[in-house]
Symmetry: C2
DNA sequence: ACGTAATGTATAGTTTATTATACATTGTGT
DNA sequence: ACACAATGTATAATAAACTATACATTACGT
């Protein structure tokens, strides 16, 4: 339980980026697919370090991938 | 051990913000002082959620408080 | 000299992120 | 119909973040 306050656009971004697969993203940022799955599902928020690596994988600033609060405002 | 790849400007920012104390910042973002100490010392990188709360406490975007890699470039 | 506020350091314990493994489901190509 | 790639789901184990407690040090006000 315990509401997760951080959301992300990982899923959307994977498809905008060459239909990148969960496994490919996982390899690219050096985690397992399970971690990507959990993040897309919103099970928990990543470590800051992983958040940076994921943003870099999409060539985006961190705050365009992850957002605080319920409202992406975009 | 295990090099921490994420750095921050928390210490500097505390002093730029009314000489804010470790305890005050801790209270403001809802963690213990020990966590702030550990972050300033670079013992580990915070959760993304905490990183957001700290950035908001200073009214700054996350990437002006935390940076990936060894070089702040500023 | 004394009290107190801020910081530094250490360590054991709890919670959360991350891994590893495993199996089920859906879609696509042959 | 079969093989395979991608995803969904679950659960136990490990690693990392975070708490709680405690004590030492430095500086500052009285």
């Amino acid at each position: 339980m315990s509401k997760n306050l951080v959301g992300n656009h990982i899923r959307k971004l994977r498809f905008n980026h060459n239909e990148m697969t969960q496994q490919q993203l996982a390899d690219k940022v050096g985690v397992t697919r399970q971690t990507i799955v959990a993040l897309e599902k919103g099970n928990y928020s990543p470590s800051l370090e992983l958040a940076f690596r994921i943003a870099h994988a999409f060539h985006l600033p961190l705050e365009e991938v992850f957002f605080y609060g319920d409202d992406p405002t975009q």
